[in-house]
């Protein structure tokens, strides 16, 4: 272990690491690897949604959950990302849709207060049941992003470069499905959510 940095350097050379790239010179970072064996509900943190209600992620266990990370001042990519989450949500069969929660978590903990998030939800016409536009302490947001494999970095102009990722959690809070990139087809994932629902003891 004495020459660790150089060993790692060599490893980095030998392996094709899952790097995060800036695509097309814009602000998109690709998703990192994740651990899908364990529940992200281990993250013991308090979250506040756009209604001012506080939650721990664990409160959403027992049902499938759709998670998307975004920020309010992002006017180009994020509305598409939020629309993608809506696309997925609305593709889920009506009878089970009410059991699925959508968590839209902001990177921008400084600007996106619950009030700002409520305006955002209203503007996007998503101030509806089961949708939670959430914020927390920045360390918690960073931890959640690490668990989901969402890369983000704040730029000097106040905007964020970030991964565009929609994640589906199973009933135990484990990562069941990841959809990376914008405008991806959602029908198949909607079917998978249905089977998560049907599979009571999904293990």
């Amino acid at each position: 272990m004495k020459t660790l940095p150089f060993i790692l350097l060599t490893l980095a050379c030998a392996m094709s690491l899952n790097a995060q790239h800036l695509h097309n010179g814009d602000n998109t970072l690709s998703a990192g690897k994740v651990n899908s064996e364990h529940s992200i509900y281990h993250l013991d943190a308090q979250w506040t949604d756009h209604q001012g209600d506080t939650y721990s992620l664990r409160n959403f266990s027992g049902e499938p959950v759709i998670v998307v990370m975004f920020y309010g001042n992002c006017t180009q990519v994020c509305p598409i990302l939020i629309k993608d989450a809506w696309q997925l949500y609305s593709s889920i069969e009506k009878s089970i849709r009410d059991s699925v929660n959508v968590l839209a978590v902001t990177f921008d903990t400084k600007n996106d207060t619950p009030e700002v998030l409520r305006d955002y939800a209203e503007y996007e016409q998503l101030n509806i049941p089961n949708w939670h536009f959430m914020t927390s302490e920045s360390a918690n947001v960073r931890s959640l992003a690490m668990m989901l494999g969402v890369q983000y970095t704040k730029k000097s102009d106040g905007h964020f470069a970030h991964t565009n990722l929609v994640t589906v959690l199973d009933k135990q809070g484990r990562i069941a499905k990841r959809i990376e990139g914008l405008n991806q087809p959602m029908e198949k994932t909607a079917e998978e959510i249905k089977s998560i629902m049907a599979n009571g003891m999904q293990q």
């Binding site: 004495k2 020459t3 790692l8 094709s16 790097a19 364990h38 302490e137 920045s138 000097s156």
Partner: protein, 269 residues
């Protein structure tokens, strides 16, 4: 004169190192002293913003890395971060592997040794617990290059030492924090020469035409000195980590928003 770093000398030399200690909140006895790192800019070795310096706002940073003793206090108060309790999603098996049980054996480890075998999640939780956060990658690198040398020769000797250290980190016998004699102009100690350190966003965005292969170091912007080669090694090493990594070389220190500290310092509040 500055020989190694690439920040405008006039800018850094007029900066005044500004050391403060704080009345500590009750949960934060483990908090070491910290210093203000005033705002400025630096050239990263990362190639995506060629020629454009990265601006960094003022922030506070711990003078030294977090020690085993300090981390033990955190673990004692937060049982979920004990080795036997920590969920696998937060740390690899080697988490705190150098502790015989739920606390370190200071007699055999030596006092004031930097804690290692801690995952990013554990480091992040610790900093949150003391009311701070992990420094961002840019903050850490910006601070690290705020060094000043008496002469070109001293600068050269330092880079030689730095390279030798990066190629030969002794994980079995780490020295006490603050003991390396390496200090920035603002009083931040041991950013080199002791351990590698976690930062908040340890995988920086890489331009699309780069991949993390052998050529990456070569393609990283050369700042015309050995120092930037050492920095490239740090970037590459960090990219090879995952947030649950718990190696014998990796520890951390915490940072704090400058605005946040101004509030706590005001006795009127």
């Amino acid at each position: 004169m500055k020989f190694l770093t690439n920040i405008a000398p006039a800018q850094t030399l007029t900066m005044v190192a500004f050391v403060m200690t704080f009345g500590l909140p009750s949960t934060a006895e483990a908090q070491p002293e910290r210093v203000l790192v005033p705002s400025g800019s630096f050239h990263s070795v990362m190639p995506e913003v060629k020629g454009e310096p990265i601006a960094v706002n003022s922030f506070y940073m711990d003078i030294t890395a977090v020690t085993n003793e300090q981390f033990a206090e955190f673990v004692a108060e937060n049982k979920q971060w004990q080795r036997s309790e920590v969920p696998a999603i937060f740390a690899n098996k080697d988490y705190l592997a150098h502790w015989p049980g739920s606390s370190p054996d200071i007699e055999s480890l030596g006092g004031n040794r930097p804690v290692t075998h801690v995952s990013w999640f554990a480091a992040n939780a610790y900093c949150q617990w003391v009311g701070g956060r992990l420094p961002t990658l840019n903050e850490w690198e910006y601070s690290a290059q705020l060094m000043d040398f008496e002469s070109q020769q001293e600068a050269r000797q330092f880079t030689a030492r730095l390279m030798s250290w990066y190629s030969n980190v002794d994980t079995k016998n780490s020295a006490a924090v603050g003991s390396t004699g390496i200090e920035t102009i603002h009083g931040v100690k041991d950013q080199f020469g002791l351990i590698m350190e976690w930062v908040q966003d340890f995988k920086p965005p890489v331009a699309d035409n780069l991949s993390l292969d052998c050529g990456t170091v070569g393609r990283m912007q050369r700042l015309g000195n050995t120092y930037s080669y050492a920095a490239s090694i740090r970037y590459i090493t960090r990219m090879s980590y995952i947030p649950t990594s718990t190696t014998a070389t990796m520890g951390f220190r915490c940072a704090y928003d400058a605005t946040q500290k101004m509030e706590t310092e005001n006795p009127a509040q």
